[in-house]
């Protein structure tokens, strides 16, 4: 059980904090922007080309393999990235700076890139669960558009929203590949600490640290997924 002490070391706690910040912030950004985008998409007729194309694109983006995602962002805002060059030419500003892309702030930006489409995919169906009869009944009883949203639609969507938020959190927390490609120095998040633990050939006994960290990951992810499932049940009870 001495391995569990490894979890309380300063490096481990920093990594845990980093992971929580990364997952929390990208989940929030992804959830809010994604919900907005999902609303825009769902407001279009079900067979419109734009709607289907956008949903298909979101499906692709949400499945973005870690390596490709990292490359895409290096190509965009990396040291010789397209956007970096454009911003420096047009505004004279240095977008790349001291290489923030390859640290925690960079991870936040890059993770948000796939969190938003993931939110669209997970949350858009919730809008379909809003039966038109509810809106018509509300309107018939005197509700304005705002009243309908405030008293009926938003309360009904909240469990699905929170559930999706948790799913996004778990997704970011467990992600490895993109961070592994972008970050080569330091272990700002737990998965990268695990990488160091199990690939290190210099320090013996590190493998056990890896196990302890993996256990920590399971605990966090399980707690989040249990919360997600509870919210899912609430949603499906209301919107059968």
């Amino acid at each position: 059980m001495g391995n569990l002490d490894a979890l309380t070391s300063e490096a481990a706690l920093t990594a845990l904090r980093g992971s929580l910040v990364l997952s929390g912030s990208t989940a929030l950004i992804g959830a809010v922007l994604g919900a907005l985008l999902a609303y825009l998409i769902v407001s279009m007729p079900p067979h419109s080309l734009v709607r289907r194309a956008t949903m298909a694109v979101s499906g692709v983006l949400a499945q973005f393999g870690g390596v490709v995602l990292a490359f895409a962002w290096i190509a965009t805002i990396g040291p010789v990235g397209v956007l970096t060059a454009a911003v420096s030419d047009l505004l004279g500003a240095d977008l790349y700076g001291n290489g923030w892309l390859f640290g925690l702030p960079g991870l936040v930006v890059v993770y948000s890139y796939f969190q938003v489409p993931l939110m669209v995919i997970v949350f858009a169906p919730a809008f379909d669960g809003l039966r038109p009869q509810w809106r018509e009944a509300a309107v018939n009883l005197g509700a304005s558009t705002w009243s309908y949203w405030r008293h009926v639609a938003l309360p009904l969507l909240t469990p699905a929203f929170l559930g999706a938020l948790l799913l996004l959190f778990a997704n970011a927390f467990a992600a490895y590949a993109t961070a592994a490609v972008l970050v080569s120095q330091g272990q700002p998040i737990v998965p990268l600490m695990i990488r160091q633990a199990i690939t290190s050939e210099v320090l013996l006994g590190q493998a056990n640290v890896g196990f302890a960290l993996a256990l920590e990951m399971i605990v966090v992810v399980t707690v989040v997924m249990v919360g997600y499932n509870l919210l899912l049940r609430r949603t499906s009870r209301w919107m059968r």
Binding site: G65, T76, Y176, A180, V181, M225
Partner: protein, 262 residues
């Protein structure tokens, strides 16, 4: 409920922003991948050709494609008969199978790798160290997604009624599964296969930490020595995955038409 003009404008702007968000990084990759090395001016497709000319990269591409193929075959052979059988004959086991198949979703791949590093060294000892050994691990990883695709297809066709009708006309169980059920869930099987391929082609966690040379691992390594070529390979794999996933949405649209009769 009609939508106001202001809303439509806002929506168009929002979708345009999303489109930019999607395309800019891809265009950036395209730009990168066609640059000439050594910051010389001009464009070249040489970096793309690298995928064919460079031996290491080529072998990793072949390895990944073969891995995808084997994973799909093993997944279909395992999953389809089991799911059909459970649905038709052992309905009570359905909850258990569903739980098992969705379990890999809740356990991060990284954690699984940490747990099986020891196991895998034993597996490679037995079966050799070609990347194809990853097949077993990958089948487990794609289970949740493939399960959902096939389950949705089975639900849409009311497999129980079809099989009862076939059995009452004299069909044996093998005939029922192969000639009655499977032809009707092709779109679901294809969907499961497409997702499996997409996942395998992008999988990095297992491959890199268990030291196998698949395409994503090779790309990451290549970046250090030849950035543009790595970009080309990445973009190519992304396009392939995109084509598969878009094909998937068209498949599920057809399935909705089929299932509508029930």
């Amino acid at each position: 409920m009609t939508q106001s003009r202001g809303f439509k404008v806002f929506r168009a702007v929002g979708l345009l922003v999303f489109a930019a968000y999607f395309f800019v990084p891809l265009l950036a990759m395209l730009d990168f991948s066609t640059q000439v090395r050594g910051s010389a001016p001009g464009r070249t497709w040489g970096n793309w050709a690298f995928m064919v000319t460079d031996e290491d990269l080529r072998s990793s591409i072949v390895a990944s494609l073969l891995l995808a193929l084997f994973t799909v075959v093993l997944m279909v052979a395992l999953l389809v008969p089991t799911m059909v059988w459970v649905r038709l004959r052992v309905p009570r086991a359905r909850g258990l199978i569903e739980f098992l198949c969705l379990l890999p979703l809740t356990i991060p791949a990284l954690v699984i790798v940490v747990g099986i590093t020891n196991v895998y060294s034993w597996v490679t000892y037995l079966l050799g160290d070609s990347a194809l050994v990853l097949t077993f691990a990958y089948v487990v990883l794609v289970l949740p997604y493939s399960y959902r695709a096939i389950d949705a297809a089975l639900s849409a066709i009311d497999a129980a009624t079809l099989s009862e009708a076939a059995r009452s006309l004299g069909a044996g169980w093998f005939t029922v599964i192969v000639r009655i059920i499977m032809p009707n869930i092709t779109s679901g099987i294809l969907g499961a296969a497409f997702i499996a391929v997409a996942l395998v082609l992008g999988e990095y966690v297992f491959a890199s930490l268990l030291h196998f040379d698949t395409l994503p691992v090779a790309m990451a390594a290549l970046y250090k020595s030849n950035g543009p070529a790595a970009m080309a390979a990445a973009l190519a794999s992304m396009i392939l995955v995109a084509v598969l996933l878009v094909g998937l949405t068209f498949l599920s649209r057809d399935r909705h038409k089929q299932g509508a009769s029930s």
